[in-house]
Symmetry: C2
Subunit: 432 residues, 2 copies
């Protein structure tokens, strides 16, 4: 409005807007959804595996018989019957909660945003796994938090690494507000916190009086064994638990929840009222009807088989085709494989060439707040059929091999190689 | 967690939580929904007037034929077809927008929260009508803003009062980030900004380079005349426009929107992605189907008649029964009448006695950020049938008359009257 900038509102924006950037995933969205591209980027659940006709009839009946409440406002904490059912769902992973302490949210994304707004002032520190869920990093940026990553290994977050991160911050006179963790079938890393580490992680947090925000959208989607006990089962005071129906039912409903100690819960409700007044009653009651009228535990078994078949296809293809020096995680559930490329290859730089070869992935840098992850990438197997996954990995392996070859040429030539001339293509809209 | 407080997390909360309080409306919710109470408190639309069977069939068909996308994530800006339809809806009030610049939100509440988060740093000033929508005050509290009220009269916000507020702040070296206004059928004041004032209000804002946030949930629900042009029609640069389907279709869908200049719109999308990832696709596509398959303009006429009949019942009852010295506004649309009580009567103090007399209203103090409004109250006529409205006003008039009588006794007696002994009753849960 002052006319001294391309964006005339620049002088008016709040501080928090300066940390906001378009996520790697959104940037990919347009190009990765072209039909000729095998998208291993996404992260969407396979909702086509749902019994759509049965759900359609259920929702028809809901609106015809309960429309006057299903289309009306509700309380900010969410529908009480849904909250009771949520307690049954949490019990599947050993969490014993009361409907009184559950807050229904617009997906667990809103739950995380509310938790951040309850606890985070600008400059506060959050501990998060490295890599971390990209949507969580967006929340923490909006909250103007400083994210300190704690490395993951094949058994998830390590208590020693957590202890070390806390101690190292303490030496600088700083203390984190909370630890954010996805213990099961980690997005994006594909690893799961081992049973032995769970009580140990909670013990470290309690000893240092640091809250844990446990984000568990995938816990019921394990392929090989019963769910591990949630971190929440080890502490009534230090764990705030986030859940979601996005992966066990349907993402397009945006129904998630947070289960928190009463004092925190009350603040979460007040902030949720400010954010959205109340969650949509139609989607909440759709979940209630679904849980009451559709065999949802059987449907979770269907989902597990859908995802297990695709996980197998991806691991087989990676094993058969990836060039030497490439490594990857072996998920026991969920949607994601985390790939580390041979040294010297940058997944972000390689991305336009992968798109040109008609395969999409998410570069690793998007999953860190501090610029790590250049050699890494996330592959998602939830959506494409197994033969498309195989084809996608074949294309990807070819792109990596070309990169390795170019790099070998460059290193042996002892001079500046042409910058992939003839290979750099216009990546199309949305790829920077 | 430190054990030195009733709330063990006190030391961990963010600053913004200190401004959060339970709204007057939420406090009333439990008690006002008892069947024996005539609730003139609420604010809910009359969704029972919708063609529920037709909507049920439409949604059944949506899920059966488009379920794989209706139950899936979408982009953070919202479904493009819905955004196109939103442009048609805005055109009803003269706003010519492009789907590119519309962001779908979880009700217009989320739109307002996003706007606040884009522009407000702690301590920033917002101008708002006095009284103002209680949900907006909740957003501004969460944003740690200072709200400065600008008084309303029967023609809405006055350009002179706005100019004076801005000038007076400028004298203190302060400048508001934006003006928040509900020009049509104001919640809670029931007044509408006159046609003549609209361009004048925009001119004041442009002259001082202050944004206007125009919140317009009720604009199509006028009883007596065509909609007035939106403030947005007078400025492409200084007005951010918020709309909602909560009152023209159904509140339980939580579908609203914000129409903003491109640079602002992009920031709104980024923050919405952090808050909720994307709005629920099921509710968005339900609105699309509704707009395409149900005669929505005719349904708005049905709503207008429903509300007009109730507005008439309320104004008739107020005219017939309210004690002298009581005044009220005369809404030409929307849901609300704003009542000013005779001097010396406090609507908040009187509230438990009204509940005892089985009538509920919202005390005026909830609609101000600064403690004004003790003599005022909001009455809502949207939901009860006309005979119940009449009965509610009868009960309310009786309570006010009793208050006046007590006050007369107290003043003439020259001594401290017993504090309504025999009249103060336990107001039940939720009434403080």
């Amino acid at each position: 409005m002052t006319g001294d900038s391309l964006d005339p509102y620049t002088a008016l924006y709040a501080q928090r807007t300066h940390g906001l950037t378009v996520s790697e995933i959104r940037a990919l969205f347009a190009v990765a959804s072209r039909p000729e591209v095998v998208s291993l980027a996404g992260g969407s659940p396979n909702v086509a595996a749902l019994p759509l006709d049965a759900i359609a009839d259920t929702v028809r009946d809901l609106i015809a018989t309960e429309g006057a409440s299903a289309l009306q406002y509700c309380g900010g904490q969410g529908d009480v019957r849904l909250r009771e059912h949520i307690c049954d769902v949490m019990a599947e992973e050993g969490v014993l909660g009361s409907a009184e302490d559950v807050v229904v949210t617009v997906g667990s994304q809103q739950a995380l945003d509310l938790v951040a707004r309850v606890f985070i002032d600008p400059g506060d520190i959050i501990l998060a796994e490295g890599p971390s869920y990209v949507g969580a990093l967006g929340v923490f940026a909006a909250a103007e938090a400083d994210v300190v990553h704690v490395p993951l290994d094949a058994d998830g977050l390590s208590p020693d690494a957590l202890e070390e991160a806390i101690t190292s911050l303490a030496a600088q006179g700083r203390k984190p507000k909370f630890l954010y963790t996805v213990p099961n079938f980690h997005n994006p890393a594909g690893v799961t916190m081992s049973a032995a580490r769970r009580p140990a992680i909670v013990a470290v947090a309690e000893r240092h009086n640091i809250l844990i925000v446990e984000d568990n959208p995938y816990g019921l989607l394990g392929f090989d064994q019963e769910p591990q006990p949630a971190l929440r089962t080890y502490s009534d005071t230090h764990v705030i638990y986030l859940g979601s129906f996005s992966k066990t039912f349907a993402a397009g409903l945006r129904v998630g929840w947070v289960f928190a100690p009463p004092a925190v819960r009350e603040k979460l409700v007040l902030l949720s009222e400010a954010e959205v007044l109340c969650p949509p009653m139609l989607t909440q009651k759709t979940v209630v009807r679904y849980l009451e009228q559709i065999a949802w535990r059987d449907q979770i078994k269907v989902f597990r088989e859908v995802y297990r078949e695709r996980r197998d296809a991806m691991l087989d293809a990676l094993g058969a085709m990836m060039p030497a020096g490439t490594t990857w995680t072996h998920p026991a559930g969920g949607f994601f494989v985390w790939v580390t490329l041979p040294e010297g290859i940058d997944s972000k730089v390689m991305q336009p060439r992968a798109i040109h070869a008609r395969v999409a992935y998410v570069p690793g840098v998007g999953f860190y707040a501090d610029g790590q992850g250049r050699r890494e990438m996330r592959l998602c197997y939830s959506l494409p059929p197994p033969d498309r996954i195989h084809e996608g990995v074949r294309r990807l392996a070819g792109v990596i091999e070309d990169e390795l070859e170019l790099r070998a040429t460059f290193l042996s030539g002892g001079q500046r190689a042409p910058a992939h001339s003839g290979r750099i293509v216009d990546p199309g809209p949305g790829i920077g």
